[in-house]
Symmetry: C2
Subunit: 213 residues, 2 copies
DNA sequence: GTCTATATTGAGATAGAC
DNA sequence: GTCTATCTCAATATAGAC
């Protein structure tokens, strides 16, 4: 057989993935410092040398954990930026892309928040701000493009960017901390619609205009 | 002298405040679990029994730390809600009030974020979500009022609320994590203006309309 | 090598003098 | 109200049996 799918035959990269998943869950629930290599390998159902073979150290597995999805995120952003469509469409795609990546990696997001906001845990440095900045720059660029093309009103693109980022962050943090109240992708789209159209009733506009709730 | 101001004379409540400030700073920088009672009293320049006299325990000082400002925040919100003005004015006051409280208690905010997002640290439970919910409810109420009065367009008040909360959160988190990029109160006001007026250019509107950047 | 029993440390908390 | 001195306890480190 060219593609052995039996369960007794360990797939290539299978152990590696199990180790990453185990580490993510443990880092998320107990924190980086409190998680021992022993626990990671136990949960992954492998032995210590396996972890050291693939990742060299606890720090190593942590860095792999962080960097791979971060790189993925940045590359997705790049794809969206180079795609076509109106500024508004591109902006929505950018936000939804970020949200999707976040939701697809919720346990990892938990680790990131825990490291970013939590107490020092001796974890090696990862430049979260750089990724965040890149996301913000992308949004700003699309906004400026929209203004230049006359698709958006003039104004401070930086302020618009923060408002957009705020909406996306809210959706992410709801998913992370209060999933029962999560607004989801649709929620992001509705918030963007509000951002584009405004909350205030316009002069002469029929009362009750806008999307009915 | 009726009001002794000398330095050798300990003011009433002075020790208490110093203990609270010391605990806040240490919890913020090292985390709750890693901070010892000894460090707190050392930084406050007093001895252990003083802490136990005022706060009964390490958990006690933590709870005082959290609850007093939270109560203050909720009471400020209440005042704003009972105040007058248009819905838009009230909404702005609500957001700025929350932001001011946050900025006035930055070190405490750091502790809250650390506890909320960080790894388990054995700190006693504080219901941050309840305060957050109350803030959200207040905003929602003002938004619904604005819609009812025809000041705002119809629409989903909940979505509008999240957009507003997102803007306020962004301003807070910038202040917390990247103060150099902070947008400040003015930034919140500008974001609200964007939320009210919308980003999209309106049909027939002169290009470049809106506040010039 | 692994395991368990014991020492040591350092934490939170207290009693009683002043 | 504050301090000196002390207590209790749990986690950690270590040592010695197996």
């Amino acid at each position: 057989m060219a593609k052995p799918a039996g369960k007794d035959r360990t797939e290539a990269g299978e152990v590696r993935k199990r180790l990453l998943a185990a580490a993510t869950d443990l880092f998320a629930s107990k924190g980086y410092a409190a998680t021992t290599v022993r626990e990671i390998v136990a949960r992954a159902g492998v032995t210590k040398p396996a972890l050291y073979y693939y990742f060299h150290s606890k720090e190593g597995i942590y860095l792999h954990l962080m960097r791979e999805p971060l790189r993925g995120f940045l590359s997705h952003i790049g794809s969206v930026l180079s795609g076509g469509g109106t500024a508004r469409e591109r902006l929505a795609r950018l936000c939804l892309c970020a949200y999707d990546d976040f939701v697809m990696n919720l346990p990892l997001a938990r680790v990131m928040y825990s490291i970013y906001y939590g107490p020092p845990q001796g974890a090696p440095f990862v430049d979260f701000d750089a990724a965040q900045r890149q996301f913000q720059d992308s949004i700003t660029r699309v906004l400026e493009e929209g203004i230049r093309r006359g698709e958006f009103r003039g104004g401070n693109a930086s302020d618009m960017m923060w408002a957009v980022v705020g909406a996306v962050n809210v959706a992410m943090e709801l998913e992370l901390c209060r999933p029962s109240q999560s607004v989801g992708r649709k929620g992001i789209e509705r918030m963007l619609e509000i951002l584009f159209g405004g909350i205030a009733r316009r002069k002469g506009e029929a009362k009750g205009k806008g999307k009915r709730a």
